[in-house]
Symmetry: C2
């Protein structure tokens, strides 16, 4: 029974990986189950043993990603009490996960809205949970007099990390350990230095330029 | 003649704005010219006076965005010599532009690969030009002993800024001037504090966790 379960899981994992690659390449709406069948060498009826629609397949990919990401982080945070180290573990875990799964990252970024109903609300709840855990890690390092809202802080570091699917080439760019070091230090020092920042900092005046709507000529 | 040109430009601007909203909502591949015709109240043949294919329409949106963004930045940088101020102007310009054009931002992020051939290479060249200008602004503030590669630095700040289309709600979140202040300070202080960073910083040890491929169980 356990053996059967393992075979089931492994085959599903292989299908989800192939499907994520195809969704990342062509977009969810353009991709067909037939292509996924060809790529995995699993018949259409064999595929429908694992999911009953293309939307459920997209859901399984997204759900699996957020679950794994959050579980990995929980495991790492359990063993560490120091707030700055916890922050570093969060960045390192997030970047390692997505560098290893860049196609999935693109699918998560581009195709959340392709889910509807319960699929979408389940994934949204997991995403929110993960965001909350990360916000908690940030809260523990926030300077008491921080002028940056927690929501801005957490999405600033998420943006820095998540954007890598647009530019980062494993092998060509810096290794992921160095990337995690750079990003966590950039953010942490910027966040902690607060109002006592170093020389050359912005002098506090705002720009008077009007909002540049591109459609006004 | 100038009057006709202005009417032409204004009508095109209105069409591009409506099309960007529809592409952002449904995705480029799912959207039809017929819907854009309905949304703009311009007939199909009227639309084809401005572009000859859906792909050209997508190109016009992307090209117009990068051109405007870069021209606005050039204008701002011309008037400022101080490196930290120039950096702030870059962040402020980028954020203001995209907060005013969030649907276009989503289209730029999600649909570059939907362009092919000359359309794609033209947009890519403009994007590269804009990235180069921003990299130059960063280079001028980079500490001499910075351990962060210029490429990592520029995409870290781009990621922080570009990710806003996933979370930022104008009116509900902090105003864009505050967002620009927060992000530029976060980045600038983090970047400038270099190895002389404050307390609580990451201690330099790396995590020994293996790379978490989600598909291995």
């Amino acid at each position: 029974m356990a053996e059967e379960r393992r075979t089931y899981d492994e085959k599903l994992a292989r299908i989800l990986k192939a499907a994520a690659a195809i969704f990342a390449e062509k977009g969810y709406h353009e991709a067909s189950i037939r292509e996924i069948s060809r790529a995995t060498d699993v018949s259409l009826s064999g595929l429908y043993y694992y999911f009953s629609s293309k939307e459920e397949l997209l859901y399984l990919i997204q759900d699996h990603c957020f679950t794994t990401l959050a579980e990995n982080l929980d495991r790492l945070l359990e063993q560490e009490a120091d707030p700055a180290r916890r922050f570093y573990l969060m960045v390192d875990n997030h970047l390692r996960f997505f560098v290893s799964n860049m196609k999935e990252m693109k699918v998560l970024s581009h195709e959340l809205e392709s889910l509807s109903g319960e699929f979408r609300s389940t994934v949204n709840a997991k995403k929110r949970h993960y965001t909350d855990v990360c916000a908690g890690v940030l809260e523990a390092i926030a300077p008491a007099d921080s002028k940056i809202e927690p929501r801005v802080a957490v999405f600033a570091i998420f943006g820095m990390m998540n954007w890598i699917y647009n530019w980062y080439h494993p092998g060509r760019d810096v290794p992921v350990a160095k990337l995690a070091e750079d990003m966590s230090q950039l953010f942490l020092r910027g966040y902690l230095s607060g109002e006592a920042g170093g020389s050359g900092e912005w002098d506090g005046t705002t720009v008077s330029e009007p909002s540049p709507s591109i459609w006004r000529t």
